[in-house]
Structures are given as C-alpha cells and as structure tokens.
Symmetry: C2
C-alpha cells in the first residue's frame, strides 16, 4: 500500500508532514510513501528513508490561488504530481494539507470521479459523547449546492466508510434538517428524505444540529452549504468555550489557579475527547482513490491519523466497494 | 406600553410566565400587561394584579399541532386572543412561549406582515467574547427557504433592531457564507452579497460560522435553513461541552472535586456569559408589532428579559421605523 504525499501543502510544510509520515511508516510496516516536493527541504527533516521515496519538484500550489486555474496551470506542483502518481497507479491514495479547493480540483480532473457518483463529498469524522464514539458527516463543503440524489449518494459512501474505517456494523444514516418530522425542510431536504427513506440504507430519519454530538447517527448527510456552516459553528463554539475556560483559570486569582492546577489532568482528558489532531482531517470521497486532507495548520499527529485512516480504507478496499456498487447499480437518467 | 401575553404557552405555563411578567412589571413602571389564559391557573400564581389584566380562555394551542391549522381552527386559543388584541390596538406587542410555527402563523394571519417585507425572520441575540458583547442573527428558522432580497431585508431589520435594542450606532451587517471571499457561496448567497453590497447598510462582507462568537459582526444575515442549523450547532456544542465539564468534575476523584469547588464561582461567571435565559429568546421581526418568544423550556428570568427587549422596541418605535422605511422605499416588482 503506497501513499502519494504532497509534502509542500499547509502552513508547516514539509516539517509536520515528514514527521507524521515517519510516525506512520514506523507504526505500519505495510505502508510505503512517495513524497512530492523540494528534495532539500524534505531531506532536512527526513531521519530515515525506509519505505519513503522522494520525487523532487520546485512548484507548489499556494493556498490563495484559484483552485481550478492552479491545477490546470501548474502540472508540476507537488499536489498535482502526487495526484498524477495515483492516476498512473504508482500510488494507491493521496494525502495533502493544501487547499481543499485545489485538492478537489486535482481529484476531479486527475484522479477522476467514481462512475455514477455525481459529486464528491468532504467528510470529517466527529467525536460523540453518547451512544457512539465517532460519526461522519458529509458534505461539509466540497459543494456549494447539492441536488437530492447527491445527498443519497453521500449516505451510501458514508455507510461504506463508516463500516470499513469506524468499524460500525450497520451504520445509521440521518439527514441533517431543520426539524425531526419527516415533512421538514426545504424542497431539497424533503426530496432527499424520500430518496433516503426508499433506499437500502439504514435511514433513521431527520436529525437537528444540536443533537449531533450526542451520537444520534453514524452517518450524517447534509448539503455542502449547510454542512459547512454546521461544521464551522461547532468548531468555533468549541474553540471559544475552551479558550474562555483557559483564560478563566489563567487570569483568575490564586484560588482559581490552584483549582485549575488540580483539574488540569481531567480537563486535558476532556479536551482530548475533541482532539483536533484526530478530528481535523477529512476524506474527499467519491473519487477513484482515497484522498485525505489535514487542516493547513495541523501537526504531525494529525498527519499520522490521516495515514491511519487511509490505511484502513486501502485494507478494506473502501473505494473499490463504492465503485463496484455503482457498476452494479447504474444511475437512471 | 401594553404587552399581550399568551400565558399558556411553553412547558411551565402559566407559572414562569406570571413570575417573569411580575418581575418586569415591578422593574418597569411604564409597562402594562394583558394575560390570556385560564383565569384560575393564572390567579394561582399571580401575587399582585397592578397593571396586569386577565382575559380568560380555556383554549390553547398544543406544541405538536399543525401551526396553520391550529391558528385557523382555534380562534379562542390564548395565543390567538393575544395576537388579536395587538391587531385591535388593545396591546402594542405580543409575547408567547408557544410553538414558533404557531406564533409565526398568528403573526402573519392576524397581526400582519409589514408592507414591503417579503418574509419575517426569527432573530435571537447571541453573546460574543470579543469586539462586542452581543450580536443578532436572522433568519434562524422562520423560513425553510429564502430569496436573495429577503436576506437584504433581514439585514435592514436587524440593523434597526441592533441600533434600538442593543444600542449599536452603525451596526456592521455580514452575510453568513461558506468562505469570506466576495464570490463565495451558492447562487442565493452570491446574489444576496451583491444586493447587500449595493445597499445603504453598513455591509462588511461574508463571515463564516466559526468566527461568529468572536463578534465579527453586529447583524449576521442568513437564510432560515442555514441559520437554523448554525444556531442549533452552536447550542448543542455549548451544552455538550458544559455538560462534559460538569461531569468531569462531579465524577472525578477528591482532588478533581476540590479543584472544581475552587473554580466554581469563576466557572459560573463564564457560564453566565452564555446565559441561556438571556439568549434563549428570539424576536419575530417583519410583522406589524414586536413579537417575542421565549424557548418553551425557559424560566421566569427569560420571560423578564423578553419583556425588557419588547420595552426597548416599543420605546424606540423599532417596528414603526421599519414600516416607515418601506413606505418610503417601496419594493420594485
């Protein structure tokens, strides 16, 4: 199992990428890597090149470039060469910390969409505090707009992923909506509800965004616009509350500081539940290979987790299952 | 200034409503109230009827009834009689803890939409941790779908409210979108951006849901579907984190419990920042009178805050300003 790695994406490239890749290489003896990027910069951080190949390139896609234009005009950018390696069967999966838009464009134009899938979805894993440990939600922003059938396809892809990577036997699929009753929502969500209800998926109905962290579903299906706002609202609220908590303790008097010290280890454990290294990654699903991205500001641990998820997808042939499903269930026009 | 109060809505009616109304009556000598509901039940809790009139009715709208049908078939329901009193100029504003859907229907069918306003918006006030203390966001669920011009109208109404009630001089209006760049979003949000940009409002561009609590805007404009998901995501995340924090302390060892005890007052102050009594209310704006609702499970303090906001709107003639604006700026067809 060989992973093509864009070594130049994100804020701390290539350092955190190399560190994360080496951690994954040391942990999983069945993984190999090709790193695309500046050879000198990579070698500065690489401690040991076992199962790690380097393909040199000077070019990279900047985070503020127009994604589609960048992908077309920079054939030698590290992300593009990595995508090309997957396309050419020199690697089985793609990892990048670069811009989501560029990665989506590279996925669509180079690696290609799974036949039958209308739109890929961006799918992070979230922690839950009840019922289950984790759930996935898609799409959280690969699309600005979706049609009803695309939401059903998200449910299907999320189901396969959830089974293979999160090890959930019969994943419960729910539709993110503005109420739990079946007739809720705008036209898009009403129509998506009907398709999901009539499908073979384990559809459990509508869920509202305030119950997501309670583990009400294993796969939460949403259009890219709403999913993006929901993800960001959860992220922002969590960051704000934890930051307030920290400042309450640091800016408090002696008693407060002492109390904070006594709680430190427990608060750390609580914070770990929402570990942003683990939950800052997202899979771009619907393309002909596993594509995983870490947040641009993520660290080596996040990269390690991304490699762990890619490995699970490769071992279970997650993408192949989706490809096979749509070969056997051609979409009616 | 007289407020028509549906005394029978919500989970703890009429108790918390009477308590909240009496607190507001005692605090504000310029407020009068008409309570609509079961006289016996009301009298059981009412300690003093100064500036409080009771209009008896046995009927009430249940929270699980179809809103439109309920409003049409129960002319003597407490909420409907209260709305009718506003319509008949016997009261200046409407308060209820009943279902949002029914209140919206009562507002539309009885009190009526402001001429020129296409759709009313549900607008809660949120706490911010930076830049400003509070901001408003609308619509968070009065509508399942909106058109671009409706988002502009939300911005206008939010501006007037923010000026009058939150005392912000030149409210910054922002569009909730899936990125900050001007060209972001689906067709709806791209079109709304253009209208807002060309308007007289103090439009500051797009904002993303992860920055809302940082006080990036005073009036956040959003379609009802996205706004609903964003509001609920923020609520659910906050509740989850605070609940985890509580359980971390309560379920911890002696050291943890002692630490929690030492932090108790500071954590309480932090929690107050997100006081759900204060921030569980929402104004239904776009109708011919102030209409404010408290969450069905809210307490007397929430009712008191709702009365405080209604009073500010009445003193500043907030609704009249919106009515006048649209009389002088007729909508082009």
């Amino acid at each position: 199992m060989k992973i093509a790695v864009d070594a130049m994406g994100g804020d701390y490239a290539p350092k955190v990428i190399i560190e994360g890749v080496e951690q994954a290489r040391d942990e999983y003896s069945d993984l190999e890597f090709i790193l695309f990027g500046k050879q000198d910069a990579i070698k500065e951080y690489l401690t040991n090149n076992t199962r790690i190949e380097i393909v040199h390139t000077d070019e990279k896609i900047q985070s503020d470039e127009d994604p589609v234009r960048a992908v077309k005009r920079k054939p030698n950018a590290s992300m593009i060469l990595a995508a090309q390696a997957v396309k050419d069967n020199k690697a089985d999966a793609l990892f990048s910390m670069g811009s989501t838009g560029a990665l989506l464009a590279a996925g669509l134009f180079i690696i290609g969409r799974i036949k039958g899938i209308e739109r890929p979805g961006l799918m992070p894993t979230f922690p839950a505090v009840k019922n289950v440990d984790e759930f996935v939600m898609l799409d959280v922003g690969a699309n600005a707009e979706n049609r009803p059938n695309q939401l059903y396809q998200f449910g299907l892809m999320g189901t396969v992923y959830s089974r293979d990577v999160l090890k959930i036997k019969n994943p419960r699929v729910a539709l993110l909506n503005n109420g739990t009753e079946p007739n809720k929502g705008d036209d898009l969500h009403k129509a998506a509800y009907k398709i999901l209800e009539d499908s073979d998926l384990n559809f459990v109905g509508n869920v509202e965004a305030n119950t997501l962290l309670q583990g009400v579903a294993d796969v939460v299906v949403t259009d890219g616009f709403t999913g993006n706002a929901t993800l960001k609202a959860m992220e922002g609220t969590m960051r704000t509350v934890f930051s307030l908590l920290k400042h309450t303790i640091l800016d408090g008097g002696v008693k407060t500081k002492l109390g904070g010290l006594m709680l430190k280890s427990d608060l750390g454990k609580m914070r770990d539940k929402f570990d942003t290294d683990k939950y800052g990654n997202a899979t771009l699903i619907g393309l002909n290979a596993p594509i995983v991205k870490s947040h641009g500001a993520a660290n080596a641990k996040a990269v390690f987790y991304a490699m762990t998820d890619i490995r699970a997808m490769l071992m279970n042939q997650t993408i192949k299952q989706v490809i096979d499903y749509f070969e056997n269930h051609p979409v009616k026009d």
